[in-house]
């Protein structure tokens, strides 16, 4: 009898808690992005390579590259985020090529959204990180 009572209490106590889903907004990365920091195997390249003309422009589903530099892909195409609310991975599908995915973070730094993308355009042992910010 006691056991049943405890069980009932346990069950009912669980029912009282309801988790309200957070209203995290889907991440909208549409716009023109420029490189504000770049590293190769941890070495800062920002000041020794001219990144000022490079742009990656995201639209609803597609992207275009302007004034190309080594990047995950070298041709324009489509992109997708693994989760629109909490994306960890971005997948680029250059037209006519296989999709390629990479880790990606989307922090707010000094009030501005940044996009940090890690990739290896040449040898897989060479890792680059581009930190992008929306260009005005």
């Amino acid at each position: 009898m006691l056991l049943i009572a405890v069980f009932m209490m346990a069950v009912s106590s669980c029912k009282t808690e309801k988790i309200v889903p957070g209203s995290e907004a889907p991440k909208d990365i549409a716009g023109n992005w420029r490189v504000i920091k770049a590293t190769r195997n941890g070495t800062d390249l920002t000041s020794i390579i001219d990144f000022s003309q490079f742009r990656i422009s995201f639209t609803d589903k597609g992207y275009t590259l302007v004034n190309k530099l080594p990047f995950l892909i070298s041709k324009d195409g489509a992109f997708a985020l693994d989760d629109p609310q909490y994306p960890f991975k971005i997948t680029f599908t250059a037209t006519g090529d296989k999709p390629v995915s990479t880790a990606f973070t989307y922090p707010i730094v000094n009030g501005k959204r940044q996009l940090s993308i890690t990739f290896s355009p040449g040898c897989t042992n060479n890792t680059y990180v581009y930190v992008l910010e929306k260009a005005n």
Binding site: R40, I48, I49, S74, P121, G122, C123, N125, N126
Partner: protein, 334 residues
Amino acid sequence: MRSYLHIKGKNLWKLCALVVLGIALACCGEQITSVDQPATAAVGSVVPITVHCDIPTVGDGGPDYLIFGFLVPKGWKAAQNTTITYTSKQGNGTMSLIPDGTLPKKGDGLTWSAYMKKTFGNGGNLIDDMEWVAYQTDKAYSHTGGVEFIVDLNIKTKVGADNNNMLVKLGYTITDSGNGFTSDGNGTYYSVLLGNTCFEVTGGSGDLVDFCNPQLTTIDPPKSLDNDFVTLTFDGTVTDTQLSGASEVYLCAKAYTSDGKTINVCEQTSKTLLKQTTATSKKYQLTFWPRSFFNAGDTQTITRMEYFLTDKTGKVKVGYGNTDAPFTYTFKCG
């Protein structure tokens, strides 16, 4: 009689010296006493190397595994191409690779391999393309009883998986899984032997990679493709060249492409200018994206390049080893 006493005193001193030496050995943990290693080997051959170790034990501790680190060029892929056994009075056995998930107790979260790299770096090699491959014994040993383990580690490693000729300083370290690369009141729990001599690999078809001698030019990352950013450094401190004292140094290069063509970029402009790293460093650098630098077509891949350094007029040229021959660089990852 006096003479007899004199000899006795001498012996006493010898005995004292031995006792002191014995304490020193017992307190100071693992020692690599010597390494037998050939001076040269052909690409693809299996090289025997013996690491002689002396492991005195003192106090209470363990049981711990003997840890061994082998410093080799990454291109050898030593983890896949090496076997290690050990022989000692107390028993024989094998050593196996330490999985990345098995972390050293005192390595601040680093893997054994990374802990070795952090502690001993590249072991005097001038190109950062070396790795420490970490092994441990199949059996553990205790630090008690004052037993002295005289252990030989018998390495068989296939050299030159990347098919490159090279000059390289191999390195060796031992410690135990309990203490790692630490010292305390009882002594030092590790021993490291970094190469004084350069091991030479011959007979390969790739570029000569010289880890031992300073080079007039280096390329970073050492392994890269035409779609990487590469940093070319000209080090004017290595030797006097015709460019010594030149205020500006330029790159004059020829690219070889996958479709059998060559592309020349030999101009003295901002595109080819190597900038001096500081006003008096005599080191000049240029970082570039080869695909763009040589203006390679979408379907072309640059497989290698030959290059010289020139002065502002383009007439003074410096090549490999300060000769008329070009420097060469092959774009590859392995």
